[in-house]
């Protein structure tokens, strides 16, 4: 028989990967979330989760921490990406690289270094929430800068010229041209920062001395004792993530329309 490689056969590895590493695990989580200790179908965990103010509060805290982290990242990253993208400096890629280099150093090492730094300043153990947010911002900043920089680089300079020709000043050029066109970059940056900062409990454990509990830590702790509740928490997180992606996606298409209408 002649061996033929069609596009379909090339898809098989990916299909297998998706099946075993995405779909089946999710199904397992779903099954565990809606069963009790004896593997009987049960809404018990669902009811327990939504009737427990602590668990709901933890979701709220996680979202708030993630939101603050994202906003701060965006506020820091946008000007940097904008300046780098617009400047005519020859060595600007060096500066960009400097922002990205920390990503190449082991994450735990970096968090440990910040821990020592905070201890030296005297913040460690005093401002656990601030420390946590700081650590997350430091950690996820490159994930915000990179997509913003690439999107801003792609904006055709003639569009700016056009906006000046039409009587716009620097401010209007930014609000009417740059900002709308960079929305895809903002969206992917926000997605890459917001989602992991809801679950990255290494930062909250190390910099918040385990006094800050976010949803990722909850999942970790439940998987030490009760897989069913752990799966339920994971499932709720999945829904939160899904909804937030939907939200940012919703903004995206709306903004794109406006951008295209310009």
């Amino acid at each position: 028989m002649k061996l033929r490689f069609s596009r379909k056969t090339l898809c098989i590895p990916y299909a297998v990967f998706l099946l075993f590493f995405v779909i089946v695990p999710m199904a397992v989580i779903l099954v565990y979330a809606f069963t009790d200790r004896n593997m009987h179908f049960s809404f018990g965990n669902f009811i327990k989760f939504f009737s427990d103010p602590t668990k709901l509060s933890t979701i709220v805290y996680s979202i708030v921490i993630a939101l603050i982290t994202t906003v701060v990242c965006l506020l820091i990253a946008y000007p940097v990406a904008y300046i780098l993208a617009r400047s005519k400096m020859k060595k600007k890629h060096v500066i960009l690289m400097l922002f990205v280099v920390p990503m190449w150093i082991n994450f735990v090492l970096r968090v440990n270094a910040i821990r020592e730094l905070f201890n030296w300043i005297g913040l460690l153990g005093q401002a656990n929430y601030f420390n946590t947010v700081f650590g997350m911002v430091y950690d996820f900043l490159p994930f915000m800068i990179l997509p913003l920089y690439t999107t801003l680089m792609k904006i055709d300079p003639s569009l700016y010229e056009a906006s000046y020709d039409l009587g716009g000043n620097g401010f209007t050029a930014f609000t009417r041209v740059t900002l709308p066109l960079s929305v895809p970059g903002i969206v992917s940056g926000v997605t890459m920062v917001f989602l992991p900062s809801m679950t990255n409990y290494v930062v909250s454990d190390m910099l918040g001395n385990s006094m800050v509990t976010i949803i990722g830590k909850f999942i970790y702790e439940y998987f030490g004792s009760d897989w069913h509740m752990g799966s339920m928490v994971a499932l709720v997180l999945l829904v939160v993530v899904f909804v937030s992606t939907l939200l940012t996606g919703g903004f995206k298409s709306e903004e794109n329309v406006r951008g295209a209408n310009l």
Binding site: M39, P53, T54, V60, Y61, Q126, S210, L247, E254
Partner: protein, 553 residues
């Protein structure tokens, strides 16, 4: 059964990459493959800092020793096993970080032969029929290769003889001795490591468990980031007066104490929960392994720790000229063991003999010294009491303890002899019933009362006030884990949650409306002024949405 299938499925998914790797590498061929699953950094790994290396260096000088002179103990076991039983063996040694991690692996169906869990986890595994008893031949002290039974401390042997585990077999429950199912490995107490530059010993003794909530040590003390240890501490704190009021000389003292430290019923958990919240307000943080380093760097003054970690922290700090100390509250503390257990199916796999031989090898005084020296914890091995060539009583492990902590005046480095005390360890080496004063180490007063010797070999009066904490059954575990999550996480007021939930739903609804609203007739945005006048003028009920399908028609 269903649980098992799902577990296997989950395990298979998680282990696929690992299996692929293992398949690629393989190991040396052997008649027997023994799979051992133990704590990380809980065995002699050879090289610098190991017992063999350091003793050789002491003998020959630092430069004359290389790391290859001190092989990992597992290599030596493989050699020994081959020489003794004329079978080649390969030990697949895997490690875990917490008892719960190990338990999950076992439940998922990973087939290990020998495990090294803590006391409560042994009880849990026995209750769930996951472990099997040792062979009767394992306890035959006539066999020269049965090092465990010949060398284990009489004190530990008594504890294992007197302790009972409830074993479920074929649906029936029966009480068995611990010793049938578990062979000890390491043991110890829990207490406070403290920095005497900031903390007065007298003050600590007066405070006891209240140290956790004392405003003198606000932000300077850590608790453990695991529910069992911190719950135990909270029990000590909540019932301290009751514990102190117990009659120490009475026969039932330890039993009464143990009962208090096992108060997990609902009537107690509320009070303990309040205590935990008070503790949280006062402490620097919960830690799993940063405590040691934070003590040394001076971030904190007090660290609630296991005795083995305490010894390690004390040793480390000494290198920085910081002399930390160890303290066990007067009201009582935790006594814990880690022991070797044989998993179910070890007979079918034909590895039971090798597993028992492994335990025996680790129970040789030489191995006990190597492991204990390497990790800082206390071995359950006390060694055989024999006589040396001069006819004097000799015990290898006592000799080792003396080598580590015994004091001898050295006129070359010291001006005058240090203050010493006779440290009595008869209970450990000869048994609780033996006449005191038979095995005594002459040690520096500090070491015996509050430093390494005290931490590594707790004196009999400390042991008397220490309690083993039983495992929590499924319901208790669920209740206490809920309590723990309420302690660890912040809880908002109910009205705040309601407001936030409503706000979240409103935001989601708004965004969805903006995105999909134009597909719903009701929310269609009105055309802007000046555009599409025709449509605006058209009567509303005649309006037909112009979409692609319609236009095709």
């Amino acid at each position: 059964m269903k649980k098992r299938i799902f577990g296997i499925l989950a395990a298979a998914i998680m282990l696929l990459p690992t299996l692929a790797l293992l398949g690629g590498c393989g190991g040396k061929q052997a008649d027997v493959i023994l799979k051992v699953y133990s704590w990380a950094e809980y065995i002699d790994e050879g090289g610098e800092g190991s017992y063999l290396y350091d003793t050789l260096a002491e003998e020959k000088g630092e430069g004359a020793v290389s790391a290859s002179d001190a092989p990992p103990i597992l290599d030596d076991f493989e050699k020994w096993y081959e020489e003794t039983y004329h079978e080649s063996i390969r030990v697949d040694y895997a490690t875990f970080g917490t008892n719960e991690d190990m338990y999950n692996e076992i439940v998922l169906g990973n087939e290990y032969d020998l495990l090294c869990p803590s006391d409560y986890m042994i009880m849990k595994l026995a209750a769930e029929d996951r472990i099997v008893p040792y062979d009767a031949s394992f306890f035959d002290s006539a066999d020269p290769n049965n090092y465990y039974v010949r060398n284990v401390s009489p004190y530990i042997r008594d504890v294992f003889e007197n302790g009972t585990v409830t074993v479920t077999q074929d649906g029936e429950q029966a009480a068995h001795k611990w010793s049938e199912y578990a062979a000890g490995y390491m043991w110890g107490t829990t207490g406070f490591v403290y920095n005497p530059e900031h903390v007065e010993r007298d003050d600590l003794e007066a405070l006891g468990w209240q140290t956790f909530v004392s405003d003198k040590y606000t932000n300077k003390i850590t608790a453990k980031d695991n529910v069992r240890d911190t719950y135990f501490a909270a029990l000590g704190l909540t019932y301290e007066q009751e514990l102190l009021a117990l009659d120490k000389s009475g026969d039932g003292y330890n039993q009464a104490l143990t009962d208090i430290f096992n108060r997990t019923a609902e009537q107690y958990t509320d009070a303990v929960g309040d205590t935990l919240l008070d503790m949280k307000k006062n402490i620097y943080g919960f830690e799993t392994d940063t405590g040691k380093a934070d003590m040394v760097s001076g971030k904190i003054w007090l660290n609630y720790a296991w005795s083995g970690d305490a010894v390690y922290a004390l040793d480390e700090a000494e290198e920085d000229d910081l002399y930390l100390e160890y303290f066990v509250p007067e009201a009582g503390s935790n006594l814990w063991f880690d022991g070797w257990v044989l998993t179910k199916g070890v007979e079918e796999r034909g590895t039971k003999k090798a597993a028992q031989a492994f335990v025996n090898y680790m129970s040789m005084p030489e191995s006990a010294k190597r492991n204990s020296y390497y990790i800082g914890y206390t071995s359950v091995i006390a060694g055989e009491n024999t006589t040396d060539e001069n006819g004097e009583a000799y015990n290898e492990m006592l000799d080792y303890a003396d080598w580590l902590y015994g004091y001898e005046f050295d006129p070359e480095t010291e001006d005058e002899p240090a203050e010493t005390v006779d440290y009595d360890l008869t209970y450990f080496f000869l048994g609780a019933d033996a006449e005191e004063g038979q095995t005594v180490i002459t040690a520096e007063k500090d070491s015996a009362e509050k430093r390494q010797l005290f931490a590594q070999f707790p004196p009999e009066d400390v042991i008397a006030r220490c309690a083993v904490m039983n495992y929590f059954d499924a319901d208790t575990s669920e209740r206490i884990n809920e309590l723990w999550s309420h302690v660890k996480a912040e809880t908002l007021d109910t009205w705040a949650i309601v407001v936030l939930c409503v706000a979240a739903v409103a935001i989601v609804a708004f965004v969805l409306l903006v995105k999909f609203g134009n597909k719903i007739d009701l929310f269609r945005p009105k055309p802007k002024k000046g555009y599409e006048l025709v449509e605006q003028e058209a009567p509303k009920n005649d309006y037909e949405p112009v979409n692609k399908e319609k236009s095709k028609e």
